[in-house]
């Protein structure tokens, strides 16, 4: 066990898997010599050489397209998109190429590839650096979308992603990169993709969230339990596609109330999908409307107002009280 933050946990997973499997190749913009703008790939080029840790030309579509070609040939490419907002440049290669190759080839070609990208707000980035775009990829069958919220999950999920036979998008919350260190096993372990984590047990309300808002939700659950006698169960989805519907439904059937919190914009988002699934399959367990606290339906705002735009403690607490007000 070593105390690690998320960045270190990701670096540890990459190093471990590159040691284990010489089919694993890491590439992207600035991932080599510089070790990535957040240092996630720090030291990898020195250790594994320029053949396996490659600084590419600045071209997102080509980075993903190359990964498609490589993965089909039996390699295990790990491509980095420097910030998730730049992924629009590679939308075709992700949504209509990587996602569909298995389907297009009637199951004869599989693509074991991983795309890593930092995302998420609260760090005062320039435009198109903070956007949470997981909803786009939930809507693209064939992809898996993984969004860890802590160092232990980051390492275990990344190892699972690299070994997965399908294209996995691995989105890393920037704000949590160095948020907290925790004990992480030095060796090999897997956190299963597609399994949500019940972070806090509760009986009155289910708060479903993922990525950067998980610590916020956990803090609020503790506060509500201590100060207002409201028992909030917090579910960290960990994986957006496939969604762990069973864990969500089991919790909502128990608590009878659901709140969804995410940083991405509200309209047509993952929260809408979760709310719809609950309505379809657990409506009669509900004692209150399902609410969402999300980013607003504007482009990600400038630094001066982002704290108010993001789901913050006040907005989430207000939603919890509103849901609990239905007797």
């Amino acid at each position: 066990m070593t105390m690690m933050n998320i960045i270190e946990a990701i670096n540890s997973a990459l190093q471990l898997e590159m040691d284990r499997d010489d089919k694993v190749i890491v590439f992207g913009e600035d991932v080599g010599h510089a070790g990535g703008v957040f240092r996630a790939t720090d030291g990898l080029q020195a250790r594994f050489g320029e053949r396996r840790v490659v600084d590419t030309p600045l071209a997102e579509s080509a980075i993903i397209g190359a990964a498609v070609g490589m993965a089909a040939r039996g390699l295990r490419p790990i491509a980095e998109i420097q910030f998730l907002g730049f992924i629009y440049e590679a939308m075709d290669q992700l949504a209509s190429q990587a996602a569909r190759m298995r389907f297009r080839s009637a199951g004869t070609i599989t693509l074991p590839m991983v795309v890593r990208a930092p995302y998420g707000g609260g760090v005062r980035t320039p435009e198109l650096h903070s956007d949470s775009l997981e909803g786009l990829f939930l809507h693209s069958p064939g992809l898996k979308v993984v969004m860890p919220s802590n160092p232990y999950d980051a390492k275990g999920l990344l190892l699972a992603a690299i070994r997965d036979e399908n294209p996995v998008l691995f989105f890393e919350p920037m704000k949590l990169y160095r948020f907290r260190k925790e004990e992480v096993p030095d060796g090999d372990y897997i956190v299963e993709i597609g399994k949500a984590n019940v972070v806090v047990d509760g009986s009155d309300l289910t708060l479903i969230t993922w990525g950067p808002t998980v610590p916020l939700a956990v803090g609020l659950a503790q506060k509500f339990a201590a100060e207002e006698g409201v028992s909030v169960e917090v579910i960290d989805l960990r994986t957006i596609a496939p969604l762990d519907v069973d864990t969500i439904l089991a919790s909502v059937n128990k608590t009878g109330r659901a709140l969804i919190v995410h940083e991405a914009v509200k309209a047509g988002g993952v929260g809408a999908e979760v709310a719809a699934l609950i309505s379809e399959q657990a409506l009669f367990s509900l004692e209150a409307p399902i609410l969402r606290v999300t980013g607003y339906d504007t482009p990600y705002p400038v630094g001066g107002v982002e704290d108010d735009w993001l789901p913050n403690a006040a907005r989430i607490a207000g939603a919890i009280r509103q849901i609990m007000s239905y007797a």
């Binding site: 579509s61 080509a62 190359a66 070609g69 490589m70 390699l75 009637a106 004869t108 496939p242």
Partner: protein
Amino acid sequence: MWIQPEKQPLVETFQLLDVDGTTHGEMPELTDGEMLDMFQWMVFARTFDERAVRLQRQGRIGTYAPFSGQEAAQVGSAYAIEKTDWVFPTYRELPVLWIHGTPVKQSLLYPMGAVSGGAVTKGVNAFPVQIIIAAQTLHAMGSAWASQYLGDKSVNVCYLGDGATAQGDFHEALNFASVMKLPVIFFIQNNQWAISVPRGRQAASRTLAQKAVAYDIPGIQVDGNDILGVYKVMTEAVEHARSGLGPVLIEALTYRHGPHTTSDDPTRYRDADEVAMWMQRDPITRFARFLTARGLLDSAKEAAMREDAEQRIGQAVIEAEAEAKGTLPEVFDMVYGTVPRELERQRDEAATLLAGKAQMAAGTAPVGSGASAGPGVNTRTSAQTASTAKGE
């Protein structure tokens, strides 16, 4: 003045076999038998293409993209690569896929809408056909990167059209491949039209081959209706790429005789004189003249080749039509390696609905109406109806 348009770099246009069937320059290393085999592939391809268009008109296959006129570019380039090499086709490179080992039947299952239509034949180093223009240029580049990493000496051949050179992916692929010296050949079949937009509206550059100059890779324009010329430049390109010297760009000047697909009408955008001019340059006629002059071919032999092609294609049609076209529940298994829980639930729902539909058909349909003919036949009938409804 530093601006001197006449000093812009040009690229060579290569031709070996002219329209009369006479050759100029050094012949490629091909035996008489190999040349006859190449000719037979061209005849086979033309025969298939004509048959496929008829099948589409009859509603027996869906939308189809004809390639008649491009046989020299396709057969000549495919003939120059090894089974260990990789091929990245668009929807038009059926002859390339056959020469590389794909069964002809597979090329029929795809436009028939069979669930297995996109399957890549085991042991054939090819990607499925690509619909999105130029997307495959990046896959070929990535695969070339894998070839280089694995050190397996395989060469990657990416097929694209003139329209694809206007896409951003094309430039990203060439740039990456050049920076990394990857073993990939970008083979442009410039058939003069991107659906209804002429080559001159895709790029104002005088040739498409000269786009190689910007990336500092070898580029050449070849008469794409000259199979010997295509074979020769392709052989050299393969050698170059295989020896680790990096990518090559080839522009084959050719022409599609028919529409872009069975859905458009080329008489709306092309004039008859242009078509007639290109018909004079037909690649099959030209190669036939050459082979005849060498005493390798006569009209009886050519007719026998066509007859043989008709027979083999007819057989492939029978086999493809007899094959089950698959069911909706199978589709769910092709999305991920292991079916996720929610998708499993949707698959079960589809299976239940399908079973109910079959039961209803069995209960209400009159005897002998086809309900007992099996799922494959039923699926084809509905595909047929759908395609007719589009008014094609």
